[in-house]
């Protein structure tokens, strides 16, 4: 986080030559770094205390290690699954299905939602259908999708794509329709065609909304894939957690859950990085150094 903040300020300052405001950069950056380190220290402390208490309670016999598991057993389970390569195989299968489904659904949904800008009539007609589809928990479609696409990777990708498609479509459509009318009038006063208005105004100004839908969608995709793996599959973290759960192998289940957390955090971080890369002007928005008026 500290690194990103520092970069934002650099860009904002770099964007305004001769503003002479660069002097404030270094102290602010180190202050942010200090805040970040303090927060990290506390986070580590919280985790250490939680795990320590858990382990102590299990060792003292205060809680049932068979039903709850213990940090040391989880660690051993994780190490053995890492050594056998099972954890990596499962994590890879889940990540692959999630990323593929997310990319497919978000891409098709976003493009479709943007294109709806061209016809108010069509978007008005399909609006209730989209709302209805959005209301259905997509995991309810999993049994059907597994029947149609098999229990392998494809059905998980389709499931994730279906879940993310609707959100992407709705936010892109909404973003495209809420463009300021005077912005469009300005383009028309230059003599712009509808296609020019679309490519030069509608698409770029919808991007922030589309990308913030990505943040929601990466989580949705993961939930769908894991849900699909619960129902029917031969690998993946969801599959592993489900199988080990049926065997009452709680340490392995925990190891799977922690891996999922890690995967979710990594995927989310990737989307955030992509967001900052794709929307450089957004960074400068809040941090902008104002030049004196007139």
């Amino acid at each position: 986080m500290a690194g990103t903040t520092g970069k934002m300020e650099l860009k904002a300052v770099g964007a305004v030559p001769k503003s002479g405001k660069g002097r404030g950069l270094h102290p602010r950056r180190s202050a942010a770094f200090k805040q970040w380190s303090v927060a990290m220290l506390w986070r580590t402390a919280v985790i250490a205390v939680l795990l320590g208490t858990w382990e102590a309670l299990v060792r003292a016999g205060a809680v049932n290690a068979f039903l709850i598991g213990s940090p040391s057993a989880i660690f051993r389970a994780a190490v053995s699954m890492l050594e056998s390569g099972q954890l990596a195989t499962d994590a890879y299968a889940t990540v692959k299905a999630t990323v593929a489904g997310f990319a497919l659904g978000s891409l098709i949904g976003s493009i479709g939602g943007l294109l709806l800008w061209f016809s108010k009539t069509i978007s008005r007609i399909i609006d209730p259908f989209i709302v209805a589809l959005n209301g259905v928990p997509k995991i309810a479609l999993a049994p059907m999708i597994i029947i149609w696409f098999g229990s392998g990777l494809t059905s998980k990708i389709v499931l994730a794509a279906v879940s993310t498609f609707i959100v992407a479509l709705m936010s892109a459509c909404q973003a495209a329709h809420q463009i300021d009318e005077s912005q469009i009038n300005l383009m028309k006063s230059f003599g712009a065609s509808k296609l020019q208005i679309f490519t030069k105004i509608i698409v770029p100004s919808s991007l922030p909304w589309i990308i913030s839908a990505f943040r929601i969608n990466i989580g949705l995709a993961l939930v769908s894939v894991v849900g699909g793996e619960f129902i029917s599959s031969d690998k993946g973290l969801g599959h592993m957690i489900f199988v080990e759960g049926n065997l009452f192998n709680l340490p392995a289940v925990w190891a799977g859950v922690f891996t999922l957390m890690l995967v979710a955090a990594l995927l989310y971080a990737c989307v955030s990085i992509a967001e900052n890369r794709l929307l450089p002007w957004n960074e400068t928005k809040s941090k902008a150094k104002r030049t004196p008026s007139v």
Binding site: S19, N185, F190, G191, S205, L279
Partner: protein, 276 residues
């Protein structure tokens, strides 16, 4: 033969003296949500001369922006016609430059890329449009901001960039729809003067919509006062203080300034009294 040539010559000559904008009996009605017809413009006629700077003032909600949208070809009048440079605009757009209340700079484009927007729409090559844009940015001291994003600029700077974005497409006529209203007072005074001198310098015809009577008097050759809705042209004042003094700022200290203000104010005041 000779007669025809003479007629052609005369009409050609006449075209040169043609009003920059001629609005002829323009009416505009809208349907409200209840399906009733609401008449906004009630037979507007006005002529704007070449290289003239005219302000249109009127009570708020009187349809000033509607007139602009019709002149720019963004809205179709219910009846009547608009001639720009003697030619009926029909449903075409792109014959006037339009500067709006808000600068409408695109936040994802740098100042340079914002300025070239109009040229880009008109299909001019990247090199040519950047050269043209840098030329204008240089001329008006904004070249050092070419690579900056609009968010880094102050409100006054942003409006200057918006004006240059309009100028760079080289329209003969520029419509200004309350471009100073969002600015603080000092910035506004400086910018009024600046924009006026830029338009004179470039030989443009300017039409300004404003609700600020002082602003209208200080910058205009003529002030057109509109009635409340349904709108018609109530009165026209030949002001010309800015042209006489060479500056909008100096026009404000002219002895006639106050009497113009009182006359125009009373035209508007009566209507406001009736409205409330």
């Amino acid at each position: 033969m000779h007669g025809l040539a003479a007629a052609e010559y005369r009409s050609g000559f006449h075209k040169k003296e043609q009003a920059a904008i001629a609005v002829r009996d323009v009416t505009k009605s809208f349907l409200n949500t209840a399906g009733e017809e609401i008449r906004v413009l009630d037979g507007i006629s006005m002529e704007i001369r070449q290289r003239e700077f005219v302000s249109i003032v009127g009570p708020s909600g009187c349809g000033k922006s509607t007139i602009f949208n019709i002149i720019a070809g963004l809205l179709e009048p219910s009846s009547g016609s608009v001639l720009v440079g003697g030619a009926d605009i029909g449903q075409s757009t792109g014959h006037v430059g339009y500067m709006m209340q808000r600068d409408l700079l695109l936040p994802w484009r740098t100042v340079l890329d914002n300025v070239t927007l109009g040229l880009e729409v008109q299909g001019i090559g990247k090199k040519d449009r950047q050269t043209a844009a840098m030329d204008y940015l240089n001329r008006y001291g904004l070249d050092s901001f070419a690579k900056a994003y609009p968010s880094a600029l102050s409100g006054g700077m942003r409006q200057r960039v918006a004006l240059i974005r309009t100028l760079v497409t080289q329209p003969d006529i520029i419509l200004l729809d309350e471009p100073f209203s969002a600015l603080d007072y000092q910035t506004r005074l400086v910018l009024e003067d600046e924009i006026l001198s830029i338009l004179r310098n470039e030989g443009k015809t300017g039409v300004l919509i404003t609700h600020d009577i002082e602003e209208a008097i200080s910058v205009s050759d003529r002030v057109i006062v509109m009635s409340k809705r349904p709108t018609y042209v109530k009165q026209t004042y030949e002001v010309g203080l800015a042209a006489e003094h060479g500056s909008a700022m100096k026009a404000r200290s002219d002895v006639r300034f106050k009497s113009f203000f009182e006359q125009i104010w009373s035209e508007l005041d009566i209507q406001m009294g009736r409205l409330s």
